[in-house]
Structure formats: C-alpha cells, structure tokens
Point group: C2
Chain length 526, copies 2
C-alpha cells in the first residue's frame, strides 16, 4: 500500500476531486423551485500566514522524523485545516484559513509519536492528531492562544496491519489506515471489520476510536467502541497499553476513557479490533411502512427480539419522499410512507435464516416488502451524500446534518422537538429530514439532514439552528451526539449532559495524562 499516494480531499470540499460534480440537471430544477439558487464559487486555495513555529524547533522535528516529514508549505497545511462540517467548508470557501496548523508532522511509529509529543511539551506546541480529516464537530480546531504554534500530527504513515489472531478473531491496526485500506488488508486474511460510517472512504481507524464512530452496519457488527478490544496510546506522560482480555473485572475500563477522547488525552497509535469472517452473501432490501412511528416500532421489536439484520435504517416521510424522486425504486407510483432498508451479511445459510425470521416479524407488524432494488440503490449511493452537499453549497443552499440518540420511550418527543427547533430556526424555505440508522434494545439514534436557502451570513444561520436543535436534545434528555463526537461544537452541551462533576473528572484525567495541556487544546474538555 503506497501510503503517500492516497487521494487528498480538496480543502473546501468532500472526497475525491474527480468525483465532484455540479448538481445534476434534474435535481437543480427541484432545488431551484424550493430554495432558489445562487452560484457560490469558493475561494480557491486561500493563502496562509507563515508558520509561527520557530525554525530551530522545526529543525528539531526534522531531525526526529526526517525533513520530508515536517511540512510547512501552504497546501499541506491547508489540507489539515479543520474538518468537513458545513461550517468548516463555509469558512474555507470564504477564504478563512485562520485555523491552519503551523506545520504538519508525519511520524511513522509509536516511538516517533512519543518523541514528537516530548518535543511539543518542551516547546509548548499544541498538537492536533490528524487521521482522515473528516471531523464534523470541530475536533481539528485546536486553541492557538498560549502556544508557540500548532502542529498537525498526521498519522498518514501509520498504516500497518500489525497483527492478526485468527483463533481469537482479533486484528491490530495502526491509526492512519483509512476505512477501505483497513478492509483491504483484512480481506487478504479472509476477514472483515464491518465498520462503514458515511465518512468511511476517508476516515481513519484512529479517528473511529477517538470519536466513538458508528457505522451503517452497526446492528450487525456493532459500534466501533464495541469492536475495540485493545488500545495503545502515546501520551506526554508515557504509554498506555490497554485491553488484556475479552472481558475483565480488573477495575474501571480505562479503554472507555480513551475511546471518545478525541486526541485530548493521548494519540492512539494502535487499535486491536474484533474481526469477523468475510461475508459470502450480502442482501439488501426495502420495506415500506405507513408511518415513521410504525416503522420505528418494528425496529424496536426486532432489537428486543435479538433479531436485528446487519443493516437496518428507516427514513421518515420527508426523507422517503425525497428518495421517491425515483419512484421506481421503492414500489412504484403512489408509493409513500416510510422506507426501511434491511441488509443481511454472512454465510448464505445465516443470511437466509436471519432474513426469514426478520421477514416474518416485519410482515406480521404490517410492513410492506418493496424488494431488493431499494436496498441496492441505498448500498450504491451510501457514501455519496457529502458530494451532493458540495453541489448544493455551490448553488447557495445550506445543507448540514446532526444526530442524537435516546431511549425508545423518548423517540417520538425527541423527533418532534428537534425537527420543530430546526424548522423554526431555519425559517422558510427549509426542509428537515430524518432517519433512524442505529438501533439498540433500549433505544435508537435519530439523524437529521437539513437544507435551507443560504442567508447572508450562513454561519450565523446554521449556528442558530444548531443551538436550537442541541438545546432541544438536552431538554428531551437525549445525548448531544450518537456518533459525531464533541469536538469544539458540542462542548456546551456535553457539560449539561455529564454535569459539572463529569466535566471535573474529564479535566482530572486530562491533567494527569497531558499536564501542560498540549493535546488538542480546546477540544472535548469543557
């Protein structure tokens, strides 16, 4: 795997530049009708201020890593500036590169990471661990004040499959592996990780762990935090090696402090994950439900009967209607209601058995099967939404997502409250869509997508909507994020969610592992 040859994203867009496209003509008509359109070309390659880091310190880093792995050129720094939230893209499109790191360093081993941290402590440089750069909650926007500069610690050279244990079905992966790279290495061993968040094509193993990511197949394979067996972490105070057994009662589970720590407690340098045999059969299909409530109740029944498919997701009426721009896909003309996708992965026998059991339950509950075409359509488009967002931003339509989770008894209220908060804050014309894509015995996630005509200050416009939605989540007793982490954007609500004493514990752990506070300052810890 040629680790330095991978596709870089454009600083102000998602994904492979070759896959970027204008809004398709048929969609443009609809968008024009609903929102009106205004061409909004981005500022291309905004220039950066010179690196603030003392050249002698840069020379020290170069001595450590080799000169090729300490970069201060504008393009490298620009590509490590912020993440891929809509506010991130809007800032970059407007030419605001004020959060650019001063240098990008690329260690290739745990010991090199540790050495970079030691040097950063010595010279009081802020350190921002960088994996895929797909953060959407400000996790790459470190506080600069009080530091002698900001280092982006790019894990791009740490892409090894360190170990595979076919008996225990575990694999140890380095943090810089992107989703497809990790799966390719595992596939060569007949294995699969099965973690497919929408950011999968770019996001990294280290990032999955640091943000408690959840993938589209979470019902079958588990959230990423549930897949993690062990972690190795470099901190300014030394090394942590955690995870000695499949389960233990040896005190608090310290892995769970590192999972979700977003680079603020240490740099994850290896992740041991549970792996499975590669599926030999995959099958995705659609079901139609009269209402979101009935579809959600069916998901709950499956979850509470230990009968979950590998993938299960349910779009609300609005999101379903948008999918129905191609009505053939889910049952032809007149189709309405809510679309559910179920997916099954495994051996042919396991897929057939699970599918039969799921079909029996969904049929009994009033679901209407609409066939495999709907499932295949979802599978083939499942990583494309961020490209569409770019196309919408190009024509002056603000598109963004947010998500939350709650217990089943609170889902109806949470859905109504967040939707109405967003609608009220965004004003007309705007649309708010929702789906459920992660379900558990006790509850589920809600994932909202919004689109609105861009106001004169789209950042302020979105900020109002985000605050309203977040306040509604906390008021409903839900979590501020099911799988997007805290970053800088969610900090005010994290403090409400875990309370002042919870915040105090996070600060105590941070102070212990990172006494001078160089690790991703301003991120996660309120």
């Amino acid at each position: 795997m040629a680790s330095n040859q991978q596709t870089e994203m454009h600083p102000s867009r998602w994904g492979d530049p070759a896959r970027a496209q204008d809004l398709p003509e048929e969609a443009r008509g609809l968008v024009e009708l609903v929102f009106g359109t205004t061409d909004r070309p981005a500022v291309v390659d905004p220039p950066l201020a010179p690196s603030a880091i003392d050249p002698a310190v840069l020379a020290g880093l170069a001595d450590l890593l080799g000169p090729d792995h300490v970069r201060t050129d504008d393009q490298t720094r620009r590509l490590r500036t912020r993440g891929k939230s809509t506010p991130d893209l809007l800032r970059m499109r407007s030419g605001d590169v004020s959060d650019a790191p001063d240098a990008v360093v690329r260690p290739s081993t745990h010991d090199e990471v540790a050495a970079v941290l030691a040097l950063a402590v010595e010279h009081h440089l802020a350190v921002v661990p960088f994996g895929g750069g797909t953060a959407v909650t400000g996790g790459l926007v470190a506080r600069r004040e009080g530091f002698a500069g900001v280092l982006s610690l790019d894990l791009v050279r740490m892409k090894r499959l360190v170990a595979v244990d076919h008996t225990s079905m575990t694999a140890t992966l380095e943090p810089g592996l992107r989703g497809p790279e990790a799966e390719a290495l595992l596939a060569a061993e007949g294995l699969v990780l099965g973690h497919y968040p929408q950011s999968w094509e770019y996001a990294s193993i280290g990032g999955f762990a640091a943000t408690r990511s959840s993938g589209q197949s979470s019902a079958g394979y588990g959230r990423f935090d549930a897949l993690v067996v062990g972690l190795t972490v470099a901190t300014p105070r030394g090394r942590l090696d955690l995870g000695t057994a499949p389960a233990t009662a040896a005190g608090p589970d310290l892995r769970q402090l590192i999972l979700g720590s977003e680079g603020a407690f240490g740099v994850i340098t290896a992740v041991t994950v549970r792996v499975r045999a590669r599926p030999t059969t995959t099958l995705y299909e659609g079901w139609r439900w009269p209402s979101f409530t009935e579809g959600a109740a069916a998901m709950r029944t499956l979850a509470q009967s230990s009968l979950l498919p590998t993938v299960i997701r349910l779009s609300d009426e609005g999101e379903t209607a948008l999918n129905l721009a191609d009505p053939g896909a889910i049952g032809g003309e007149g189709a309405a209601g809510c679309l559910m996708i179920t997916g099954f992965e495994g051996t042919a026998a396991a897929v057939a058995a699970k599918r039969a059991a799921v079909t029996a339950v969904l049929t009994e509950l009033g679901g209407d099967p609409v066939g495999e075409a709907a499932g295949e359509k979802w599978v083939h488009g499942r990583f494309d939404a961020p490209y569409l967002r770019d196309s919408m931003l190009d024509v002056g339509v603000l598109v963004e997502t947010l998500e939350t989770a709650t217990f089943w008894s609170g889902v109806d209220r949470l859905y109504a409250d967040v939707k109405s908060a967003l609608t009220a804050a965004l004003g007309d014309p705007s649309i708010v869509l929702c789906h459920i894509s992660h379900v558990y015995e006790t509850g589920c996630s809600l994932y909202f997508t919004v689109a609105a005509k861009e106001a004169d200050d789209p950042l302020a416009q979105w900020h109002r909507a985000k605050v309203a939605a977040s306040d509604a989540m906390i008021a409903a007793g839900a979590t501020i994020t099911h799988h997007h982490a805290i970053g800088t954007d969610h900090k005010p609500w994290l403090a409400q969610e875990i309370g002042p004493l919870g915040v105090s514990v996070l600060r105590a752990v941070k102070a212990d592992l990172d006494p001078t506070g160089i690790l991703n300052p301003g991120v996660l810890v309120p």
Copy 2:
C-alpha cells in the same frame, strides 16, 4: 418487601445458617481418603474492640439517619467485617475481627448517603459501602490508619424498584437489592434481569455494578457491566448522573469508570439496567466432550457464529470426574471426558430454534449429548458450592476459587500455567479443577477451584498459591480477574495489568471525586 427481615449470613460462613450442614457422609469418605480430615471448629462470635468513633460524631449520624440506623453493637459490626473469600472466613474462624467497622450506618436515600459522606469528610472517617457482603477479593477491608474510624455504609434500606420503562426495556434499581429481591420486583412486571452469579442469593445490585460481576447466564443476558444503562453516584464532591442514551459519542464513557470502582470513587445509589421479558421456557442439558480442548473449541465456534445459548459452561476432566461421583447424571458408567452444560431461556419458539442450531453445531463438532438430567442437576445445585466450602473448612480442607480470562489463542497456555502454578504451590495432597463459564467471540474465562489439606498456617499456604497463580496469569498476558474485582488482594497485579500510567489515571480520578480519600481507602487503587 421487609427490608430488615432478610437473612443475615454468619460472620464466618456462607449463606443461610439454616442451610449449613456437615459434609455429607459419602463425601466425607472421599475427602478423608484424599486429604485426611481434622475437625476445625470456628471461634464463635469473637468479641470486638469498642467503636473508635467519637460519640459526638455517632450522635451526628443518628441525627441524620435516626438512631435505629447507626449501629455499634458487636454483632452488627461483626456481620459487616470483611467478605466471603476463604482467607476472610479463615480469619474470622480464628477469631480475628481486627477489620471490623466501628459503626454501621444505614441511609435510605441518595441524599442520606450524600449527607453521610459529607459528615465522614468532616470527621475524616473511612467509608466502606456494603451491599451483600459477598466480596471475595478484600473489597470490604478498608485501611484504618490515618482515619478517625471506619464506617460501614450499609445499603440494606435502599431496595426500591425506582422506575420501569416497558417500552425501552429498562429498570432503575436501588443498590441494596439482593439478586432474588431484584428479580422478584421485576418478575411482578413480567421482566427479568438475568444476572445470576454464584453469590446471587446474597449479592446486591450495587455490588454487581461496583465489581463488574458476571453471571452464569452471561452468554445470554450479558455481563453486568453490559446490562448497565445508567448510574447515579454519590461522591464527596457531589452527584454524578450518567447514561443519557442507549449509545453515545459524547466523549469518554464515564459509566465505565464507576463500573468496577468498588466504592473507591463514590457510592452507587441507583442503577438503570436493561431488562428482558421473562422467559416462558427454560431448558438445560449436558454434552460430553473427549477433552477440555475440544469442548473449548466448540464454545469458540458457537461464540464466533453468534449462536450462544443463554448458559454455556464446560468443566475440565478433573471437575467432570468430581461431578461423576453421581455417574448417573451425565451418561452413566464409564462416562469420562468433559461435561458441558448448555441452557436456553426465552419463548418456546426461540428456545427451540436456538437449541436446534446449537445442537447441530455441537453434534458436528463431535459432542455427545447426555440429556437434560445433567442440566437440571447443575441448575439445582448452582448456588450451593459456598456451603460445601464451609463443610470442607470444618474438616480442615482448604477450598478456594480464583478466575481469569484471556483470548482464545491463549487459553491452553493460561490453563496449563495457572494449574501447574497452583499445584506446585499447594503441594500434595491437593486438587485443582477448572471450568469455562463465560465465553465471548474473542476469548473466555477460566475459573479454578482448589482443595488442599490445610497447613498449619492456611492463610500463608493460600497466599503462596494465590501469588503463584496471579503471577502466572499476568505472565500469560491474561487479566487478574474476570469477575471478582480488585479489592485489596489483586492490587499488585492490577498495577502490572494497566501499567503505571493506568494507575496514575485511577489515582487522578480518585483524587478528583474523593479528595480526602475517605472512600474505601486501600481498596482498588494501587
């Protein structure tokens, strides 16, 4: 539920005094043959030193809780002295009550617990949370030096079912509920928790959480830490309310710091757990395997095929042979090899389907079904082993257990190493038995039972064996405990398992939540 009417255990024995018995005559012959026997009567009701706590402080506690709930009489204090490990029993049998608390307080609400903690901080009293008193690793033996006395904080009055959410399938339980009491309250709602450790008849909900307990049905219902959705904790610095959603990416999971914290970070005052519908069908049966290795491989196949029964356990050749004292139970005369118990709980249809799938796999792998009698025998005797231990101690035979866990690829080595360490340390005559009772996709637990003729100093004798076994576990890369917690006994090995930086994090959390160190001092944190 008459919370003050519950059966108290005898200070130096397990369980209901009415169920205590001499070693059965037929077993006594075997024991005599292997070990020789010597009657070892216990010191009855050893006298205590007077309470060291200032009467004015006791009066303050009585003002807080009512005089009936602040006890300093010998018998109440004696019954809160240490736990139920064999060393605990040996000390008590010899009349050593040096670890007795100075007073026993019984708050009935979270606020009363918080008030007790405030008063303890003010007067620098050590506080030992007490649930069922079934600790086996020294979790109730707080350090006395430097404190103005030791308070046993008995949660016996906190036995409410606080809330049930039938939609989300969660229940909020108070910590003082013993296993059967919790199940009785849930049964009235048509629900089951499904957590049955061997200590179930006495152990408490708070203790399950504080020690990361695992029950005999863990394959079906999950370890206790996996059942916990939310926690409320009283600490000297205030209240923690954790667990807002079925899953979240809102930073590190702080619940996982409280689970396994053994009263050293706070007092758990409520636990919200995932519950299930009560099973309508239960079925337990036996399988015979030619060897422990083959039986373990079959367990691994089931775990890695998502085909686990509710209960699955496998005795090694020695433990199986001991069960064969009644050869009719598992397949008649000449039966040998290793006995596996599988248990299925759920609806009739779910039990039938799972049992058929499991039977197909086990048959394919060479297992020999030996029928339901073996399963029923196990079910009916599954909480009895601690009574047998008392009977063995009565005749001068040391009996104790210890347990560990590792990944599948390390099971053979761990089994051999721990067994030979124990055998070598205990010398002749001794026997070392083992079973696997908790299995996961990536590995399993090993639970050892040993019996040896008591030496002149049985505490020293056991200590040597425990050290040898624990060293072997750590050398093999396994965990020092799969489900018995750290207490005071496992602290040296915890430091090896999580490393000096892991210890530092635990100390930082402890210092933050309990700045004056009153909570279970000396327990858990190295």
